[in-house]
């Protein structure tokens, strides 16, 4: 296995003459629906956030109460935004890295359509009171089954692309893609069978649920996002990542710890002591792959002057990656977890991960392929860079506010001398400011939505 610069894979005419490559278009369509979910999910979470600051907001509207909005919003972001883009990204990148493409994307389009419809109906079911309070398992069975089938329809092509690759060797990027592709169905089947379809007894549910919810991030969205970063950086710079062996170590350490670190949320909770310890240790050791990825990427980026938009996305994405897992590592240290595990700091971890790391990385690839549909459109470029900056500023400021508020909240809630309602009073100003950060993030999401839909409209009106 030797590392070849993936840039060579970009030359035209890699596939048999007469084939047109359907994958950029597929990615465009996927981005269009996914960016819609990004906006929708963010709006739902912002409404929920307003309710925490002012509980009278929409009071009495049953389908718009906090406890239903939150699962709707998070599911929209994870299954609608992250996962849909991730699927298209897997096919697109495996094709670029392997120098092959697929003959027809008809099945994939059907799968995306079914996925979108199932998710929409599933969210309506949650709004109607069909949720179960288990994070990312709230979708009703018909929706999760449809999503799984749609996944299989796409993954078959992914596997074919990987098996049939014509560029020798594999790239760091493709390891992560294959890993995400393998983990997603396994996780979704396990989580749904054990907790929703044939639920196991209550005492066994907490560890499985925490591991599943963590896994959707750590073993599915995170690997695909890292794959995007490890693709974009060498691609844009025409330089390979630093040492190959270092990348290998980074990959395996990431997978090893990511497989367990969902348990880090259960430190001190109703799980066997060894599980809490493993959760803490693996969350903490995630620092190793974070450092390796940082060295690897910034080693290449250092001194570069080619700061294109996708490259900025990759750099910001790797920063958010580090922020997410460092904060999660601190939060899993037992005495820290004892005070802060259930505070707004945990929200900040989720926001940095999903809104920062995943959104910036996947958004980077979307912005990487969009120009080919746009014929040099200056407004599109502006929307693109607004998306980047508003996302960075929004996520950054909201995360800072949530962490500061969470620190006060944690201390106040562990102090026997402070009644609960006072702890709420302390965090309220921080929650209010964090909400402003979420609004900035929403504006950024709207820019991406506009850019993608303008490109789609232009493509539909005048196909290249």
């Amino acid at each position: 296995m030797n590392e070849v610069s993936p840039r060579s894979a970009m030359q035209d005419g890699r596939w048999p003459r007469g084939w047109t490559d359907p994958l950029p278009r597929l990615l465009l369509w996927c981005s269009a629906s996914a960016s819609t979910w990004l906006v929708a999910g963010t709006v739902l979470l912002i409404i929920a956030g307003v309710q925490v600051v002012n509980p009278a907001f929409l009071a009495g509207v049953s389908f718009l109460t906090f406890g239903r909005l939150v699962p709707m919003g998070i599911n929209a972001l994870v299954y609608g935004w992250g996962s849909l883009v991730a699927l298209a990204v897997i096919l697109y990148l495996l094709s670029r890295l392997g120098g092959v493409t697929i003959a027809s994307a008809r099945l994939a389009y059907c799968a995306i359509g079914a996925w979108n419809l199932a998710l929409l109906l599933g969210l309506c079911a949650i709004a109607a009171g069909g949720g179960n309070g288990l994070l990312l398992l709230e979708l009703p069975p018909f929706a999760s089954v449809t999503i799984l089938l749609a996944y299989v329809a796409m993954a078959i092509w992914g596997y074919a692309l990987f098996r049939g690759r014509r560029i020798p060797g594999t790239f760091a990027s493709s390891w992560y893609l294959v890993a995400g592709m393998l983990c997603f169905p396994w996780l979704v089947v396990t989580g749904n069978v054990l907790l929703v379809w044939l639920p196991i007894p209550g005492p066994a549910q907490a560890p499985v649920a925490a591991w599943f919810a963590g896994g959707m991030m750590n073993l599915w969205l995170a690997p695909v996002s890292l794959a995007v970063i490890f693709y974009i950086v060498p691609q844009v710079l025409g330089r390979r990542l630093a040492a190959y062996n270092l990348s290998l170590l980074g990959f395996w350490s990431f997978m090893l710890f990511a497989a367990w670190c969902g348990l880090g949320r259960m430190v001190g909770g109703p799980v066997p002591a060894w599980m809490a310890s493993v959760g803490f240790v693996s969350s903490f050791l995630m620092i190793i792959p974070v450092l390796i990825a940082g060295v690897n990427v910034f080693g290449v980026l250092k001194g570069t002057s080619e700061w294109t938009l996708p490259l900025r996305h990759a750099a910001a994405g790797i920063g958010a990656f580090a922020g997410t897992y460092l904060l999660a590592a601190i939060l899993a240290v037992p005495p820290v977890a004892g005070i802060f595990n259930f505070t707004d700091i945990a929200v900040a971890v989720g926001l940095l991960g999903l809104g920062g790391f995943v959104t910036l990385s996947l958004g980077g690839l979307i912005q990487f392929i969009l120009p080919q549909f746009e014929h040099r459109d200056p407004l599109a470029e502006k929307l693109g860079s607004w998306h980047l900056w508003l996302t960075v500023i929004g996520v950054g400021s909201a995360a800072v506010c949530l962490v500061l508020g969470g620190i006060l909240q944690g201390f106040a809630q562990s102090d026997p001398g402070i009644v609960f309602s006072h702890s709420v009073d302390y965090v309220m100003p921080f929650r209010f400011l964090a909400l402003l950060g979420f609004l900035i993030f929403l504006a950024g999401a709207a820019c991406l939505f506009l850019r993608v839909h303008r490109a789609l409209a232009r493509y539909l009106i005048t196909p290249p």
């Binding site: 009278a56 009495g60 007894p201 549910q205 497989a259 001190g268």
Partner: protein
């Protein structure tokens, strides 16, 4: 050259290990936990839920109360939960024996509810709490019915509602069956007995 298997089999191995360790281990051990005998009362612990409370936990799940309320008291060694009188011992897996789904909770935007049944005065208080908004707790007005009083006021009508929540003259607010089930569930949350793996802890 197709060195596919190295990545694929490695990832499968890493994942399978965690899958066996978390999912299968939990199922095979925690999944078979049984109630323990209580020598003083002759019954078993944790106490089974009443039919109404069992229905109530489904309302609790559907309304997503677990996104704001935990049901996890952590040991005194790492947290102030016990000192704070959230409970007299840590919460353990067996506490969820009759819970379906287990509402262990994610955040403490609201207070921990592991032992709410010990704090609550009566059912009327629970209904008032759910009907009106709190400092950060939304109103669950949709679990109640505002109706005109025909003849005598209903015995289960909510009393003492404040401000704009008070019904106009001639009207009353009564709980739906869902609200009554939810209240029964909340009042059943009492973990004041020791379990073999979790003796009562002393506060400092």
């Amino acid at each position: 050259m197709n060195r596919t298997p190295a990545v694929i089999s490695g990832v499968v191995l890493v994942f399978a290990l965690a899958w066996l360790g978390v999912a299968m281990y939990s199922y095979m051990t925690l999944g078979y936990l049984a109630p323990v005998e209580d020598k003083t009362s002759g019954s078993t612990l944790p106490p089974a839920l009443s039919g109404l409370a069992d229905a109530g936990q489904r309302v609790y799940a559907a309304e997503g109360c677990a996104y704001c309320h935990t049901q996890q008291v952590r040991p005194a060694a790492i947290s102030g939960d016990i000192e704070k009188k959230l409970g007299s011992r840590r919460t353990v897996a067996r506490d969820f024996l009759y819970q379906q789904p287990a509402a262990f909770g994610y955040l403490r935007i609201g207070p921990d509810l592991s032992n709410y049944g010990l704090r609550a005065r009566d059912e009327a208080e629970v209904h008032r709490l759910l009907y009106q908004t709190g400092s950060a707790m939304p109103s669950y007005r949709s679990l109640y019915i505002l109706r005109s009083i025909s003849g005598q006021q209903s015995a289960e009508a909510l009393e003492g509602l404040r401000g704009s929540y008070a019904p106009p003259a001639g009207y009353e607010v009564v709980p739906t069956p869902d609200a009554r089930a939810l209240a029964a569930y909340l009042l059943s949350l009492k973990r004041d007995y020791p379990l073999p793996e979790a003796p009562l802890e002393k506060t400092k």
